[in-house]
């Protein structure tokens, strides 16, 4: 049963649950605006991992003693929590990977090499992260497939007018649920329906969306969904590939080794059942426990509450930047916070993003400066780099104010 979230969370108390955000550098608090990159961790996640290592650590799935059985329960318990969190039909549909990147590569390689032939088309979008471009480009080299890209509208939404033409004859549709540069939230159900109508295998890169809102993989109806633990308050080193039971049964294993086999003889092997088939070697046991605790924490706050909180903050950030700087600040993507998450890629008065982030760091404002692992999109925006401020449940208006104020410091130094 899903633990019930509170009606209106105490956001100040939530902020105080994150030890890094209680730290000061040079006597001033840290303004963490880089959660699209990676998120901070609450005490409960840190404690769950530490106490598991102190009291419960043992191998999983291999040994008969009680300590090992309890460790297996902890690991599988985390799988069940994640499954419930994304409304998977069964825990076995959740495969633990190293991160979303590994999950996306796993599908591209395992599904792609089994099913794709020279000349087959794979449809992606122009706003993909490199992790949903390069694995397919590798198949261009390995198999000779063709890549097609859904274009974008001027305000950074997917331009779906020509979608059925793009999907015509294609074998795969793989798109992001939310852009890590523009914040655009894509219409996943509509995309999946279009992919289905064209008989495509459909994969969703949900790395940016899962941490910030309600995820219902059954309602989405895709074949595969990939996301990372470290962006959703969990530790680095663990991610998830969700697959429908049908697809996971058919999918060949990616890595071979221990844990993923049923039997091995000198002349061959048979696979363990799903999901062990895809979890070769000792997995990230401690990290799985941490991810389970992260899911508990997010559910206790409530994903709908988190989405509302971030929508309000995003509106406040856009309005504050515009009010203070007018046309001197460019905020990429749509103005409509119903259609975007709390990711703000900005350009400011011709000051290079690297210099901006350096100056912002003086006031402990942590933002990403760079191409955000989405160079094709950056070329489309006509920028080598942007400064990206990204929001999460522990941010409040004071963080946005510090960002707005900090930009002024850059103007002073560069005389603009």
């Amino acid at each position: 049963m899903t633990p019930s979230a509170v009606a209106s969370p105490d956001w100040q108390r939530i902020r105080s649950d994150f030890p890094v955000l209680r730290r000061e550098i040079d006597g001033r608090p840290i303004v963490y605006l880089d959660s699209a990159n990676t998120s901070q961790k609450p005490e409960s996640v840190i404690d769950a991992m530490a106490s598991f290592m102190r009291e419960g650590y043992a191998p999983i799935n291999r040994s008969a003693y009680r300590l090992a059985a309890a460790a297996t329960d902890a690991y599988e318990g985390a799988r069940s929590k994640v499954a419930r969190f994304i409304n998977a039909a069964r825990p076995e549909e959740v495969v633990f990977t190293r991160n979303a990147t590994e999950a996306l590569n796993m599908v591209a390689q395992s599904w792609g090499r089994k099913n794709l032939r020279p000349g087959d088309a794979v449809v992606l979008s122009h706003m993909e992260h490199h992790a949903n471009i390069v694995p397919w480009q590798m198949l261009v080299d390995q198999i000779g497939i063709e890549l097609r890209f859904i274009p974008l509208t001027d305000d950074g939404l997917l331009d779906l007018d020509g979608l059925s033409a793009l999907l015509d004859g294609a074998r795969v549709l793989s798109v992001t649920a939310m852009s890590n540069v523009l914040g655009t939230i894509n219409p996943v159900e509509r995309l999946v329906a279009a992919g289905r109508a064209a008989d495509c295998m459909v994969m969703i890169d949900a790395c940016q969306s899962v941490p910030h809102g309600i995820t219902d993989v059954q309602a989405w109806g895709a074949d595969f969904v990939a996301f990372s633990g470290h962006k959703m308050l969990g530790p680095s080193g663990i991610g998830v590939l969700w697959g429908s039971s049908e697809q996971l049964e058919l999918l060949p294993p990616f890595l071979g080794g221990g844990n993923m086999i049923d039997d091995v003889r000198l002349d061959g092997f048979t696979c363990a059942p799903v999901p062990a088939k895809f979890e070769a070697g000792t997995p990230a046991i401690v990290e799985a426990v941490g991810l389970g605790a992260a899911v508990d924490y997010l559910e206790s706050v409530g994903m709908a509450n988190i989405r509302r909180h971030e929508m309000g903050l995003t509106r406040y950030a856009i309005d504050s930047l515009r009010a203070r700087y007018g046309d001197d600040v460019v905020i990429h993507g749509t103005d409509n916070v119903e259609l975007r998450g709390g990711v703000l890629s900005i350009a400011f008065r011709d000051i290079h993003p690297h210099d901006l982030s350096q100056v912002l760091d003086e006031s402990n404002v942590c933002v990403r400066a760079g191409h955000h692992c989405a160079k094709p999109l950056m070329r489309l925006l006509g920028a080598n780099a942007t400064v990206r401020a990204s929001l999460y449940l522990y941010n409040d208006r004071s963080d946005v104010d510090a960002l707005v104020e900090g930009l002024d410091g850059a103007s002073d130094i560069f005389g603009l």
Partner: protein
């Protein structure tokens, strides 16, 4: 903690706002592209070498204040020098950036870096060392191609 004034010295901002030797050189000048994968900066460096002398260098492309000012000052420091001298200047600069790839030669200490000394503060901001050395690494590549 080092202050921003250590990084953004006046002379650096001057070279950033008014870059020297910006642009392109026609063939047969050698052109080499340099990338900083960290921030996406891309430059193209044009090198004209004849009779073992660096006759001209130009740089085009985009970058932050540190990479652009470093490129600007670098062109001034190397134009007109022999290739051997230029390689010594590169070694001196890299050692100032706390990078010692080939090791300094005894005579390198005599080389004055002039304006480039202003970039000394970059060492206190390790993330930015890659910005300061982008044009230099591209120059090394161009010199290697020139033979």
């Amino acid at each position: 903690m080092p202050g921003l004034e250590d990084l953004y010295r006046e002379i650096i901002l001057d070279h950033y706002k008014n870059p020297r030797n910006r642009g392109e050189l026609p063939e047969p000048a050698i052109s080499v592209e340099g990338h900083n994968p960290l921030c996406g900066d891309e430059i193209t460096l044009y090198l004209d070498v004849a009779d073992d002398v660096v006759r001209d260098v130009k740089v085009s492309g985009q970058g932050c204040s540190i990479s652009q000012s470093s490129a600007s000052m670098m062109t001034q420091a190397v134009i007109g020098r022999s290739v051997t001298e230029v390689r010594a200047v590169i070694r001196r600069f890299k050692s100032m950036m706390a990078i010692e790839e080939d090791g300094l030669e005894a005579t390198d200490a005599e080389i004055s870096l002039g304006d480039l000394e202003a970039l000394q503060g970059v060492v206190k901001f390790p993330v930015r060392i890659k910005c300061a050395t982008l044009s230099w690494n591209t120059l090394i590549q161009a010199l290697d191609e020139a033979g």
